[in-house]
Symmetry: C2
Subunit: 378 residues, 2 copies
């Protein structure tokens, strides 16, 4: 076991107890409503973290954001994999290769044109792909209108072909990230559920199969009250949580399990600044709290025990420099952070901050107990 | 040789001809003023790119932003290395190890406290460190006031000790990124030069050595007219340039040598959106043009020949999804980008976008001619 003070800076830390509590909370929330989880691995990209996700229970399979993740987690033993980015025909060779190695792959699309392209490619390859239709429930990204004729046209195209198996519908209520009240989150969750069930019922009423009805996002997953008609819930960022989720009200700052360790390298005393050796390369350029009620800059600064230094944020960031300061408008003086001292910085967006690093250091009771690799690239 | 259409997406591309032209422009600008370059490798982090930087000439050594870069480029044969982030005593073991392998390392600091800590550590290690004093010329980050007594106090501390060798002064006029006119850039460049020369003269007048006077940033390096008294100029992003530099007026969009290849995976036709399989993971979350005269979203969209599609930007980005749209206010219709078609996206910030990738694909005359690895981590 290593002390925190023996780590080089910047380093990416997981508070293991907080992570386990986050995983248990989501697993229990979904299980209590009779649901199952298909956790998104894009947040952590680590087979070591996934072991803890599985240990928390209620897991039906995983969700990936890249085919590199699919390769990695299939090699680690996870076979039931949903690739939650719209497929293109050029990626089907890789999907087929994953299938030949035991991957039970599910792909998604949201147009007749792409459905026809997948059908054509499947015929040319003499293979078969399991396909879900992506739904748009909140106008934030891709997907078809659950009420549309297009939904049925895509479904018929997929169902009529021998090379594609219509598996159902999926959606991601990403618009929930703009919610700012518990009531708004419950409305987003209800809308996501209702429109997904509606789409599934329309398919079945047309004589089409719909064995999977997949919904999710961390905010809606934790606010959905009724999972009738839903076969699985997808979520990722709840693994670590972050300041954006705390700003939405889905967690508290004390739940955030990810932080970056940094060393104080200088001061500008007249400005009340302390400068650390962690900038946007270590934190990411994500400034997702900028439009929330409390702008946390590039992160909330804590002591080594992850207790926030009241009012202190990383107010600006260069590549390898972070400038710590009091949050604008906070009248308190900047605390003394001597040269060489260590701080931890809680991130705006766990997925983005973790993506800047090649591994995690795992902290249990203030000691470094493990180093876990994480995947990068595509 | 591979065709662009054979690459997986997203992929990071270097337009080799543009890169060589950018490197030649900077080398000639500095050489014409009797100066030498200490190029910053933090932008590209690639020994293959560095070969082209060296071929362009006028190079005195390199600048690094992490000790991992120092390790990497020392192994590639570069010995003269300036680590341009304020040192901490905990990093001196690694500096000493680099020196023992032939690295001619220069470190920086900006306080008497850190100078004393380095002196103490050098004595304990029985080794010697070459140190520059960081100057603050535009209040944007670290550094001491060139007019201050602190400058002389640090210099005396370093000069009096046997374990530290006072090498001179260095500054980075990062405030130049906020300039918006040629005149403002020339003023920033002149201020950076004048204050650095002033600091050097104050050291010499006090009987202290100052063999190095190191200045730089891409905008000021290309706007400095007189390098008298300056021993070297540091710059990095000019290697590739980017939309932020184009917004400042330091380059044009047609000079940008870095782009991300992406595939169109869907549309929301009523909104005029095309959705691609490159989001913030491929582009970074850098939105540095947001406060410039033209907000380029997460990037400017071009065809495969790097010709911009007029008015089309990546207006928003999720982890692996980018939403292409007309720039807000542009009345033209969104061009047709069929499903499966390829586009290239020019980045806001080359350092940040490159950091999201593990390698470059090098494009010469529209063909992929090489794959170059790049370094990540610390």
């Amino acid at each position: 076991m290593t002390a925190l003070a023996d780590l080089e800076t910047p380093s990416l830390l997981i508070d293991a107890a907080r992570m386990r509590a986050n995983l248990a909370r989501m697993a229990q929330h979904v299980a209590a409503r009779g649901g199952r989880l298909r956790p998104h691995v894009k947040t952590h990209k680590s087979a070591d973290v996934l072991k803890h996700v599985l240990a928390a229970g209620s897991v039906a399979g995983i969700t990936v954001s890249t085919l590199a993740e699919a390769e990695h987690f299939l090699a680690a033993g996870m076979t039931d994999i949903l690739y939650a980015v719209g497929i293109t025909p050029r990626k089907l060779d890789q999907i087929a290769a994953l299938q030949s190695r035991g991957g039970d792959m599910k792909i998604i699309l949201d147009s007749v044109a792409m459905a026809e392209a997948v059908v054509a490619r499947a015929a040319a390859m003499d293979t078969r792909f399991k396909v879900l239709i992506e739904l748009d429930v909140d106008s934030h990204r891709g997907g078809v209108d659950p009420h549309s004729d297009t939904l049925l046209a895509i479904a018929r195209t997929l169902h009529a072909a021998t090379g594609t198996e219509l598996m159902g519908v999926m959606t991601h209520a990403g618009g929930s990230y703009d919610a700012s009240s518990d009531a708004a989150l419950r409305r987003a969750a209800t809308t996501e559920r209702d429109l997904s069930v509606l789409a599934a019922e329309r398919l079945r009423a047309a004589g089409l199969p719909c064995p999977m009805v997949s919904i999710g996002s961390t905010p809606t997953a934790l606010h959905v009250e009724d999972l009738s008609g839903i076969t699985e819930v997808r979520a990722g960022v709840y693994t670590f949580f972050d300041l954006v989720q705390a700003g939405i009200g889905v967690c508290t700052v004390a739940d955030i399990a990810l932080s970056v360790l940094a060393t104080v390298i200088g001061h500008q005393e007249d400005k009340g600044w302390a400068i650390v050796d962690a900038g946007w390369m270590a934190m990411s350029r994500d400034h997702g709290t900028e439009r929330q009620a409390v702008d946390q800059g590039y992160g909330v600064v804590t002591d080594l025990d992850v207790q926030p230094l009241p009012g202190v944020i990383m107010g600006s960031a260069n590549q390898e420099h972070g400038i710590l300061m009091m949050r604008p408008g906070d009248p308190r003086p900047m605390p003394v952070l001597p040269i060489g001292s260590l701080v931890r910085i809680l991130p705006n967006h766990a997925c983005a901050t973790a993506a800047q690093h090649g591994h995690y250091h795992v902290i249990e009771a203030g000691r470094v107990t493990a180093r876990w690799a994480r995947l990068r690239g595509w």
